[in-house]
């Protein structure tokens, strides 16, 4: 309601509180980073930027990163949307399993996933050798194609999860109306289904783009010297040869500008699709039949199967005998014993504690933001929205650094505590959840909420009792994604963690750094197991028909 006159009510209070939170935890650290970028020895100077644009090997990385991210986004959409369509419109066999597996595909921690791919598809990888032994020509995992391949398999489930929510929200009678006019099959999919889910498709595309853009592990391992932005930033901040904060901060600022442009393009595109759907008649999934049904099952299971390969390989690795880095013959539980000495239990409990707290914070704030933006559209709330989106366009390491710059000195010394981990993760994951919540919110017709108000419900309880449950699909898909992301988040945590606040993913990372791959595989496997467990518990308490993910 863009015309709603500004009234001072409970929502104004919420706005102000959110603003204060964001100013303190986000704007201030970013400000510190900016200062770092433009001051050399206390003097204002743009030398770092000058340097960046004077050397081709710096600025080429922009194009490389954008190119990869674009291609990955397109392919993720191309396979993610059909997957989700089959999942949502047909009763595929083993839907729950399919969904869980699909989520697991996104999960491997950076490095270890890409490393597993090398062991599978590298020059002397398992699969490569197998293909070669059949006398077939082999393809190389390295280079541009490899990065795209690995990232697409890792990121397409994000599209699936987003789209599942969007498909749930389509009112079936719209599809029927189209069909009654002769619009069917692929055509209907394009003109109606896709058009109605466009806001979600765009949100998903942006998400994948940003993830791909910020991915450090994959290009670092299989890029064959393909220089990308995150690698550049990472080296500047955390390289073994000492760090150049000044230049790294400047590079970060440039990265943020690039992603900001993409973000704005997406926002403009999305603004063309503002409409509401009142899904009183949700889609009723059909039984897949005949050849089509067979192909659908084939497509989904093969896709998930391929995407799961590195995870399976990691599980396998966790049982292999390792002498530190070197693989030995035979299987045992040695790695697990070793992992126990390496803070396994502390990692698990930290992971659960941090992810639950963070998730709670994120969901609450994201839902509030979504509401403010969609229903209380005004300058203040748009400012909040824009601010909350900032982390979207910031690589994780940049956020980590900003927090360190901001909160490592008294009286604001939060570093080294669980608190800072929660703050970092919350900041980093907030935009993703708030995007999906906003998309969900946009689809709810305002009259439903008005009905609640007219029945005497105070604004807040109308919101909690009616709006939030109706946003359900959007929120839950966002929350599930966030949960998985939080568990596997590494980049911002790497410089913030210590032994007291270590999590499973960071333990995986530490084990990799340590060269103990078997132990790393154990941590990765446990992470996976934990996630599966959480999802099963979640699915158990949710009626499958209401799994609006």
């Amino acid at each position: 309601m863009s015309t709603q006159k500004a009234r001072f009510d409970i929502w104004s209070v919420v706005s102000l509180c959110l603003l204060a939170l964001f100013l303190f935890f986000l704007v201030y650290p970013i400000g510190r980073l900016l200062i770092e970028a433009v001051y050399t020895d206390g003097i204002f100077s743009l030398d770092a930027f000058q340097e960046f644009f004077s050397k081709s090997y710096y600025y080429v990385s922009i194009f490389n990163s954008v190119k990869i991210a674009l291609v990955v986004t397109v392919f993720s959409l191309l396979i993610g949307i059909p997957f989700s369509y089959f999942y949502s419109f047909y009763r595929l066999k083993g839907r729950k399993v399919l969904l869980i597996l699909c989520l697991l595909c996104t999960m491997s921690a950076p490095f270890i996933g890409a490393y597993a791919w090398i062991l599978l598809l590298g020059n002397s990888g398992l699969i490569t050798k197998f293909i070669a032994s059949l006398g077939l020509p082999t393809v190389s995992i390295y280079g541009f194609g490899g990065i795209v391949f690995v990232q697409v398999l890792k990121l397409f489930p994000l599209i699936v999860i987003y789209m599942n929510g969007a498909f749930r929200d389509i009112d079936n009678s719209l599809l029927e109306a189209a069909e009654s006019m002769g619009c069917k099959g692929l055509d209907r999919f394009q003109r109606v289904t896709m058009a109605l889910t466009m806001p979600t498709i765009l949100a998903g595309a942006l998400l994948v783009f940003m993830r791909s853009f910020a991915d450090f592990g994959t290009p670092a391992l299989i890029g064959r010297g393909y220089s990308t932005f995150p690698v550049l930033i990472y080296n500047q901040f955390l390289g073994e040869n000492g760090s150049n904060y000044h230049f790294a901060a400047a590079t970060s600022v440039i990265a943020v500008v690039v992603t900001a442009v993409i973000f704005i393009i997406q926002k403009v595109a999305t603004s063309h699709f503002k409409f509401t759907i009142n899904s009183l008649h949700p889609i009723d999934p059909k039984k897949p039949q005949g050849v089509g049904g067979f192909l659908m099952h084939g497509f989904c299971y093969v896709l998930v199967g391929v995407a799961m390969l590195p995870q399976l390989y990691i599980v396998n690795m966790s049982f292999r005998n390792y002498n530190n880095t070197i693989l030995q013959p035979g299987y045992s539980l040695k790695n697990y014993q070793k992992a126990m000495q390496k803070l396994l239990t502390r990692s698990i409990s930290n992971t659960l504690l941090i992810s639950v707290i963070t998730l709670a914070i994120i969901v609450v704030i994201a839902v509030l933001i979504a509401y403010l933006v969609v229903r209380r559209s005004n300058v203040l709330n748009h400012t909040i929205d824009t601010i909350s989106m900032l982390p979207y366009i910031m690589p994780g390491a940049v956020i980590g650094i900003s927090l360190i710059l901001a909160f490592s000195r008294k009286p604001l010394a939060f570093t080294g505590t669980i608190g800072i981990m929660v703050i970092a993760l919350a900041i980093r994951r907030m935009p993703f959840t708030s995007r999906s919540a906003t998309a969900a919110m946009m689809k709810i017709p305002i009259s439903i909420e008005e009905a609640a108000l007219s029945l005497g419900a105070p604004r807040l309880s109308a919101f909690v009792k009616i709006t939030v449950p109706m946003m359900g699909s959007g929120i839950i898909s966002g929350a599930v994604l966030s949960f998985v992301s939080i568990i596997t988040e590494m980049s911002s945590g790497v410089i913030l963690y210590n032994n007291r606040t270590i999590t499973l993913t960071l333990s995986t990372y530490a084990a990799i750094v340590n060269g103990t791959y078997g132990v790393a595989a154990v941590f990765a496997t446990i992470t996976m197991a934990l996630t599966v467990l959480c999802l099963i518990v979640y699915l158990h308490f949710t009626d499958l028909d209401n799994v609006r993910m």
Partner: protein, 377 residues
């Protein structure tokens, strides 16, 4: 192409709930066929089965001789107006109307023209480039109408397409629907809750209750000689009064309220006899006399009166305690005041008589058949 629709022994269940137990009906090519019935009786359900959007638990649906039970909705050649409009929220008014034309292999120009024509017909041409959200309820409904009509389908299915329009617009729209339907010869199945509309627009009407067709026939047949008490009460207002039928020289005679005795010439010969009957007397079939103006008749006391434009309704209580409603043409300043005593006489030629036990009509002239109408339309 023109289509005859045959439905045989159709069954519809939602889970354990049987909504349509066993329904058969034939709809002639080019016919304007209306489903009428109380809320929740299964009208939308039946319409959606014809369209192919609901599963069919039993029976066969045929278009001409082709069974369509398993034909995709998109391939049935139908146009549909949905009860909840189902306007595409992401498309402008024009795009909504043009939507179906894209599948008619029509040149762009002609498509635009056609869309323009229909938007004009339903008076939404001023809003062609607006988004549906910015329109009033009635305007949205008219878009749904234009969108279905513009494609000139073989079978037009409409679910309360005019429910949100005012009387003038309703009449105008139903005239347009009727005209297009007639010109193109579209077989049309229409759902409405408005009896007057059904009467005015339909070639035939099926009156349903709980998934069963109680009476299927021409509007005037249904109105004048309803097949059972439900139909009589559902179609138009009526007063049900209990009477006692007796036979006098092979002629039926009915006594109402103990004393008022009327000979009936319209009872089926085989139904004449001694039994309890239910009389259905429409409010306008009473004639009101001020006390004293006539001797024979039902004595009553006016309880209430409502002015309704051309007519005035009276609510009166008979001596037997039964309440009746009466409609008389309004006379300015001549409303009979509540409390007045009146005498009512009945126009026996119009009154319908039903067996009290079975509720079925005892009259001659009841025409009720789910088969194709004998004469062409």
């Amino acid at each position: 192409m023109s289509v005859t629709i045959s439905i045989e022994h159709a069954i519809k269940k939602y889970g354990n709930l049987t909504v349509i137990p066993d329904l058969s009906v034939k709809i002639a090519n080019g016919e304007f066929f209306t489903l009428l019935g109380p809320s929740g009786c299964g009208k939308t359900t039946l319409l959606r089965m014809i369209a192919g959007f609901n599963s069919i638990e039993g029976g066969s649906f045929r278009f001409n001789d082709k069974e369509i039970n398993n034909v995709e909705p998109g391939k049935r050649g139908i146009g549909m107006v949905f009860q909840n409009y189902a306007i595409f929220p992401n498309l402008t008014v024009r795009k909504n109307v043009e939507f179906g034309l894209k599948y008619r292999n029509m040149p762009k120009d002609q498509m635009r023209q056609e869309a323009d024509k229909f938007m004009k017909l339903v008076h939404v041409d001023d809003y062609a480039d607006r988004m549906p959200e910015q329109l009033s309820g009635g305007q949205q409904q008219r878009i749904a109408l234009a969108r279905a009509l513009v494609i000139e389908p073989d079978v037009l299915l409409m679910d309360e397409p005019l429910s949100n329009l005012d009387a003038k617009l309703r009449v105008e729209m139903r005239t347009i629907i009727k005209r297009i339907q007639h010109e193109v010869g579209i077989t049309t199945v229409y759902v409405t809750h408005d009896q007057e509309e059904a009467m005015a627009i339909s070639d035939r009407i099926a009156v349903m209750k709980d998934g069963v067709i109680h009476h299927c026939g021409k509007p005037e047949n249904i109105y004048q000689r309803p097949a059972d008490v439900f139909v009589a009460t559902f179609i138009g207002k009526t007063n049900l009064i209990t009477g006692q039928m007796s036979e006098e020289k092979g002629q039926a005679c009915i006594t109402v309220c103990g004393s008022y005795r009327l000979p009936f010439h319209t009872i089926r010969p085989d139904a004449v006899g001694h039994k309890e009957v239910t009389l259905s007397i429409r409010p306008e079939e009473f004639k009101v006399w001020r006390a004293g103006e006539t001797a024979e008749g039902l004595k009553a006391i006016v309880r209430d009166s409502v002015f309704l434009g051309p007519n005035t309704h009276y609510f009166a209580q008979l001596e037997s305690g039964e309440e009746v409603e009466i409609i008389q043409e309004s006379e300015i300043d001549s409303i009979i005041q509540p409390g007045s005593s009146i005498v009512l006489t009945i126009n026996a030629g119009k009154v319908n008589v039903f067996d009290k036990e079975t509720s079925l009509s005892l009259m001659t002239g009841v025409k009720n058949s789910v088969e194709l109408p004998e004469v062409g339309i």
